[in-house]
């Protein structure tokens, strides 16, 4: 279980997330939703160990991994992350992307080769092993980013708006792939998006962020029926009502 207790983080004098507390259960698919600049990506980076919180504590399975004075390295947390821009290395082929992380695992070359094949098959990229990222389509790139991450068998998979640039059909296909992966592997997923349509069909819980604070959390249908605030109602409806304003559009950090 992942637990965030009173997490705050700011850059210089600007608070980005303030006093955030929530839990994520094992094998859960949690969506974090919010407008641009609401602190979604920062929250994800704090869980991954890419940022240190100013206050509060993050625990994974009861072990403190982040606090203002304690920091466990990202790799030790067994956390995988899929970045918004995918962060594929342009000078490496598909196979090299998968091999790169496996090389640090002290497994035999034969086991490594089998693992690469198995991973590529699971995302249907086995035919493209020798291609470079620039030779892949948008959907194939997404699958490569997922393959690179799951090959390291993370306990927690963090997804930072990875589907935002895909067309609706590809988006659906990738969502199906993510669901399959979660069911077949022991992975807890935290999925960040600014698009309410991406979480409409999600069976898991969602957290709605606004201006660095939790505005609402629960299941999509429950929140939609009982939004509890004009912001939540307006955001889920995808329209702005008078007097309701999302946080200022500052760049995601």
């Amino acid at each position: 279980m992942i637990e965030l207790k009173g997490i705050s983080k700011g850059y210089r004098t600007i608070p980005v997330v303030e006093n955030i507390s929530f839990e994520v259960y094992r094998r859960e698919f949690l969506s974090i939703l919010g407008p641009s600049g609401s602190g979604k990506t920062t929250l994800l980076r704090l869980i991954a160990g890419l940022e240190r919180p100013d206050s509060g504590e993050i625990t994974i399975d009861g072990l403190t991994v982040s606090s203002p004075h304690t920091m466990m390295a990202p790799l030790q947390r067994r956390v995988g992350m899929i970045f918004q821009d995918l962060a594929l290395w342009p000078h490496m082929t598909v196979v090299e992307h998968i091999e790169y992380g496996l090389r640090s695992k002290n497994i035999s070359r034969e086991a490594e080769r089998r693992k690469v094949e198995e991973t590529l098959r699971s995302v249907n990229l086995q035919e493209h092993g020798k291609r470079y990222p620039y030779e892949l389509s948008g959907g194939e790139k997404q699958r490569l980013a997922i393959a690179r991450t799951i090959s390291l068998e993370p306990r927690i998979l963090l997804l930072d708006e990875p589907l935002s640039s895909l067309d609706p059909l590809l988006k659906q296909a990738m969502q199906r792939l993510l669901c399959d992966l979660r069911e077949t592997r022991d992975i807890t997923c935290i999925y960040v998006t600014h698009d309410p349509r991406e979480v409409m069909n999600s069976v898991g819980r969602m957290i709605l962020l606004n201006k660095g604070k939790i505005e609402r959390q629960g299941f999509y249908e429950d929140i939609r029926r009982n939004p509890a605030s004009r912001f939540v109602e307006a955001f889920l409806m995808g329209t702005k009502k008078e007097g309701v304003e999302a946080s200022p559009d500052r760049s995601e950090t």
Partner: protein
């Protein structure tokens, strides 16, 4: 992998958890840079304040009371200003023609104008001395027929020095302005063109947007010209760098040499700070454009004028000097004699430039990484310190190096080629740091973070991720450092151990006997020696374009 429990980093909350290069590695590189480039400057300034073993300002008092200082300052500033202005007048229109118009052959012209950088300014001066030497009969004619007191066509004056240096330094302006034109958001111009004429868009939108690049390039060229030693020395000008050298080598007065450099240093340091303010976070060199291609201006009937302008510049800066040197050298037998005369210097120059360029790139990568990954005062302080050596004339740096390294304990460096390598590092690392910084700035931090999430060893992330991703900047940085090192004369002339001269020093020495055939042949050999590795690396850089847009 099972979590082994949290480890404490102590009170270090400013440290970013995910960096490929650990800070201590960057600090080692910064310390080596300080040893090579900053320590000599400190020794030099401190030395100017000591007279007969006591702290004294008498050197500066002498300097202030010297009536010749004003003329010296005037000459130096006039030379630098003339070169900067001339380079802007040539370089900026050329950049515009190459970037924004449908000028014919512009891809070839782009490579051609960059060839200028392969011909060090002192060689260009040699070529011009040689050429005007051929017109002695014309000068004689003017003297005899028109009753003139002195030669009409002469290279031994300020306008000639401005002319020669302008033709060498204009590519710096062209490169900077091209970089500005490539990186600016072209939608801004398109939005302007919907409501104003092309001339108004150029005046009100394009020029203000590229102004920092143009002004910054002009400052660069001004500093280059005011700290230039080779050309003013060859053409016998009374400027600061020549006087500093004379104080040191002719009168053995280190303190006076250093003190007389101070007005120059005050000007250049001010300009360096101003230049950094102007550029802010902008990139100095663009490896590739990430923005949409702008619409090209159709030159139409102006095509001929544009082409003539570009060809004239390239002819004067590249073709004419090379042809002059080739004519000056004459037959192949001259090259054989030249090779025999300076075989040792040719080999040592090539190897020293290659070794210095490689060390410069290694140090520059770690330092640039530190600067880019350290937001706040730490990064900006190191950034400023790395530019400082650029503000000091080469001769001043040479004196500083002698004061620092000429000690019994360090003779194993001072008495060998090692001191030349240190001099080259100190002089040219600022440029390479800027080029590599531009590349690192353009890399998404997610690429490194993805590596950190896959592989715990920084060394592997460094070699397999950071170095390949930075290759365009590393190659460009090496090329720049190699070209500049191959032509360096100001500092190496002072620090080179006896009998261990480089090729530029050999040429400089031979020039005392006039622009002979051998000098011309050695200049041609030096140009070929610089051109070959540069051509190979530039072709490598072009092959890396397949990753364009993904880095």
């Amino acid at each position: 992998m099972v979590p082994t429990g949290p480890y404490r980093l102590g009170n270090c909350d400013k440290i970013k958890p995910m960096v490929v290069v650990p800070k201590y590695v960057s600090w080692i590189a910064i310390a080596l840079f300080a040893l090579a480039a900053l320590l000599p400057l400190i020794f030099m300034v401190a030395g100017s304040l000591v007279v007969d073993g006591r702290v004294s300002l008498s050197n500066y008092r002498t300097l202030l009371s010297d009536s010749g200082q004003r003329a010296l300052l005037f000459n130096s500033v006039l030379l630098a200003f003339g070169v900067a202005l001339g380079a802007c007048l040539i370089g900026a229109p050329l950049a515009f023609l190459l970037q924004r118009t449908d000028l014919v052959f512009k891809n070839y012209l782009r490579y051609a104008y960059l060839l200028t950088l392969l011909i060090p300014p002192y060689m260009s001066a040699v070529a011009w001395i040689h050429r005007l030497g051929r017109y002695q009969w014309l000068n004689q004619f003017f003297v005899n027929m028109l009753g003139k007191d002195e030669a009409v066509l002469s290279v031994y004056n300020l306008p000639a020095a401005i002319f020669v240096l302008t033709l060498y330094y204009f590519p710096f302006i062209t490169l900077m302005v091209e970089s500005g034109l490539q990186t600016m958001n072209h939608r801004l111009e398109e939005a302007g063109s919907l409501c104003a004429s092309p001339a108004t868009v150029l005046r009100r939108i394009t020029l203000p947007l590229i102004y920092p690049y143009l002004a910054s390039g002009a400052i660069f060229v001004f500093i280059f010209a005011i700290t230039e030693y080779g050309v003013p020395a060859l053409l016998g000008l009374n400027v600061y760098t020549v006087v500093i050298f004379a104080h040191f080598s002719a009168y053995y007065n280190e303190a006076a040499a250093t003190a007389s450099a101070m007005p120059l240093v005050a000007i250049t340091v001010t300009l360096v700070v101003l230049q950094r303010q102007l550029m802010g976070n902008r990139s100095y060199v663009t490896m590739e454009s990430h923005t949409a291609h702008p619409s090209r201006i159709r030159l139409g009937k102006w095509q001929g004028l544009g082409l003539t302008f570009s060809l004239c510049i390239i002819s004067l800066s590249v073709v004419v000097p090379i042809v002059d040197l080739l004519i000056g050298a004459g037959s192949l037998s001259t090259y054989q004699v030249a090779l025999k005369t300076a075989e040792r210097q040719i080999i040592s120059s090539f190897l020293l430039s290659a070794v210095a360029a490689t060390l410069i790139v290694i140090l520059a990568l770690f330092i640039a990484y530190f600067i880019e990954k350290s937001p706040g005062r730490g990064g900006s302080t190191i950034d400023l310190l790395t530019v400082l050596p650029f503000a000091f004339p080469a001769t001043v740096l040479g004196i500083g190096l002698i004061k620092t390294w000429n000690r019994p304990l360090t003779q194993f460096i001072y008495g060998t080629y090692g001191i030349i390598v240190i001099a080259l590092i100190a002089r040219f690392i600022p440029f390479t740091i800027r080029v590599i910084s531009s590349t690192l700035k353009s890399l998404s931090k997610n690429l490194e973070e993805a590596a950190g999430l896959s592989e715990p060893r920084w060394t592997r992330n460094f070699w397999k991720i950071l170095v390949p991703l930075s290759r365009p900047g590393l190659i460009a940085g090496w090329v720049i450092a190699f070209i500049l090192s191959s032509g360096e004369i100001g500092a190496t002339l002072l620090v080179a151990p006896p009998g261990e001269a480089t090729l530029p020093i050999r040429i400089h020495t031979l020039l005392h006997y006039g622009a002979s055939k051998i000098v011309c042949a050695l200049c041609v050999i030096a140009i070929i020696m610089t051109f070959l590795p540069v051509a190979i690396l530039v072709s490598c850089l072009r092959r890396l374009r397949k990753f364009e847009g993904y880095v």
